[in-house]
């Protein structure tokens, strides 16, 4: 019998502890104050403590309650969704929607193994025309269409 019954919970707790630590480092220099005169650091400090407390609770629990086996992570969807969204962010103001949108659609489509080239190309064109027509032209959202030149 393994000692840790729910290894995923250990990872969750570790992430929470890291998060609480990182944010506490950010607020540790702020004035905490008293309960009557709460400083800007009062609530954040308490909440960092509560997150850490919950994390410790989750660790303790993982020794007693059976959980799932350690998860495996799907690399392909994570990578391509991340790259697609990131490229839209990087391209939309430097090159405009007409470049950023096809890049987004093509990259995120690669996340699914079943997508075919023709289908993705058609979708990229359709989504670009649709968003340029509806969001920029009809709804007048201030998104640059084409910024080259």
């Amino acid at each position: 019998m393994r000692l840790v019954k729910s290894p995923n919970d250990i990872l969750l707790a570790a992430t929470l502890l890291a998060m609480a630590g990182l944010l506490y480092w950010q607020v540790s220099k702020l004035r905490v104050g008293t309960i009557l005169r709460m400083g800007p650091g009062y609530m954040p400090t308490i909440l960092c403590g509560l997150i850490a407390l919950a994390a410790v609770g989750i660790i303790v629990r993982s020794f007693f309650f059976q959980g799932d086996k350690l998860h495996s992570w799907p690399i392909r969807p994570l990578t391509f969704i991340f790259l697609g969204l990131l490229s839209f962010g990087l391209l939309v103001e430097t090159f405009g929607l007409l470049v950023a949108m096809p890049a987004l659609v093509v990259l995120v489509s690669l996340a699914d193994r079943d997508s075919s080239k023709g289908e993705v190309a058609a979708l990229a064109v359709a989504m670009t025309l649709f968003s340029a027509g509806v969001f920029v032209w009809a709804l007048r959202l201030p998104i640059p269409l084409w910024t080259a030149g």
Binding site: G39, G41, P44, L50, A55, R61, V92, L104, M127
Partner: protein
């Protein structure tokens, strides 16, 4: 009581303005669409559409966004009945008997029972909302900062209890949400908190990209990992109308569902999902033939469908009267109101009566439209279900990027969305749900503010939360909720061991 009705009529005259009818119709249509399609819920949709509503008058914007919420309850049942997949989490129980009815060749009657029960519930819920809202707004006289604080604590605890997975993980998500809401400039001291030196964070994390990340991007990552089987029912849907006997059996169920749903919608932490589950349990318990539930009985469709629609509507009452959103979708509505310069709370009724009563009255019109959108056009919605997911998710991501960028015309919000998309997905894999997080995120600043005020009023005495009766009752109820959920779990675990 009489006041409520005359106000409702005044609201109807607002709701019947041409522009508002138009936006009500758009909301109902979009709501049905996203309700039918699994994998896109009202939270993500409202987040995507918020930037578009900047340019609308407040009533039109809220009427449309509300239409999306209750419209999704109609659409969700279509998928539940025809595909055995819940289009929304609130239509999970409709799968049980609705899909079996469809398998027995009674898809048409199942669909029309779902739609008509929803309409029935929707109309009654509007009247109940008018009465509840008038009553609750008088109750707010007794509400000081301590009461508001305790009410929000109760709401968050309820959200923790309703989340899937463990209570402890959900509690951790609440704390994370509260902490994230404090990022940015502190209102009372002007100091920057937790911004990591990013200037873009000095206004705090915007909740639109946060919600998109947690509810759209993370959901897509999850669906890509384990794709769901979609088998649309073959064959014709057939005659829509239920038989006279079925119709008779539905009426009491729909009525019970309406009242259960309306009541559970009012509770902080409540909403359509809770309402539909409770209604199904009640129907099964009081039925003369409980063993037939799950084989396609009409009561199992009518009750939950009435309940989820009723709670989707009454869930607006705590927001409009107390300023407290009770579930993530309503939290998005709170954001929409703030964007339009309306502070959710008791003042909405007095300062913006046209918004308040117009919104409530628009639900009457919206529900009527929804029956027309759903029943005769059912074929259109079924064909939508045949669109493969690989074409559907890039489109959602396109809307998310446009929506996130348009909030402040700042690419930083897109990066915020990416970050929380991945964080949300990872947390979801670890069985920590994002719903408590987003609710806590919206309530965070309010909680800090009311806590601060309560402490100032009581001169720093924390016992003020237990010495004031309403506040004490709310806190006791919150503790009670935790005990009810933890106790049976512990007992079961001990038996397993």
């Amino acid at each position: 009581m009489l006041d409520a009705f005359s106000n409702l009529f005044a609201g109807l005259s607002v709701a019947l303005q041409f522009q508002n009818i138009l936006y009500c119709f758009s909301g109902a249509l979009i709501g049905t669409l996203i309700g039918v399609l699994p994998g896109l819920g009202p939270v993500a949709t409202i987040a995507i559409l918020l930037p578009v509503t900047f340019y609308l008058p407040p009533v039109a914007a809220l009427v449309m966004l509300a239409g999306i919420y209750y419209g999704a309850q109609y659409g969700g049942s279509t998928t539940a009945i025809l595909v055995n997949l819940p289009g929304e989490s609130s239509s999970v129980v409709t799968c049980l008997d609705g899909y079996k009815m469809a398998r027995n060749g009674r898809a048409g009657p199942a669909l029309s029972i779902a739609a008509l029960s929803s309409l029935f519930a929707g109309v009654i819920a509007v009247v109940l909302m008018a009465v509840f809202a008038t009553g609750l707004s008088e109750l707010t006289m007794f509400f000081g900062p301590a009461e508001y604080f305790s009410l929000m604590v109760f709401g968050l605890i309820a959200a923790v209890i309703l989340a899937q997975g463990s209570v402890l993980s959900a509690l951790a998500m609440v704390f994370v949400g509260l902490l994230l809401s404090l990022v940015g400039t502190d209102v009372s001291s002007g100091v920057q908190r937790m911004t990591f030196g990013f200037f873009d964070l000095s206004d705090g994390i915007d909740f639109v990209p946060l919600a998109m990340g947690l509810f759209a991007v993370a959901e897509i990552l999850k669906n890509l990992e384990d794709p769901e089987e979609r088998v649309v029912l073959k064959g014709k849907i057939g005659r829509l109308l239920p038989s006279r006997e079925e119709f008779k059996r539905c009426i009491p169920s729909a009525l019970r569902g309406t009242f259960i749903g309306s009541f559970l919608g009012l509770l902080p932490g409540g909403g359509p999902t809770l309402g539909s589950f409770a209604a199904y349990t009640v129907e099964k318990r009081i039925s003369k033939y409980p063993q037939r539930f799950g084989t396609g009985v009409v009561e199992g469709v009518a009750g939950p469908e009435a309940a989820n629609n009723a709670s989707a509507q009454t869930a607006f009452v705590p927001l409009l009267t107390l300023g407290i959103p009770s579930n993530p979708t309503i939290a998005m509505m709170a954001g929409a109101m703030l964007i339009h310069g309306i502070q959710p709370g008791p003042e909405v009724m007095t300062k913006n009566p046209d918004v308040f009563w117009g919104l409530i009255a628009s639900m009457l019109i919206g529900n009527l439209m929804l029956v027309i959108i759903n029943l005769p056009l059912i074929g259109v919605w079924v064909s939508l279900l045949k669109i493969p997911y690989r074409l559907f998710y890039p489109a959602i991501l396109v809307f998310c990027c446009i929506g996130a960028y348009s909030v402040n015309n700042n690419v930083f919000d897109i990066y915020v969305m990416i970050f929380f998309g991945i964080v949300g997905y990872v947390f979801m894999k670890w069985k920590a749900e994002p719903a408590p997080l987003i609710l806590a995120f919206v309530l965070g600043p309010l909680i800090e503010e009311h806590f601060r005020r309560a402490m100032l009023l009581s001169l720093g005495d924390p016992t003020t939360f237990v010495s004031r009766p309403i506040s004490l009752a709310l806190l006791v109820a919150a503790i009670g909720l935790i005990l009810i959920t933890i106790a049976p779990r512990l007992r079961r675990q001990r038996q397993d061991a």
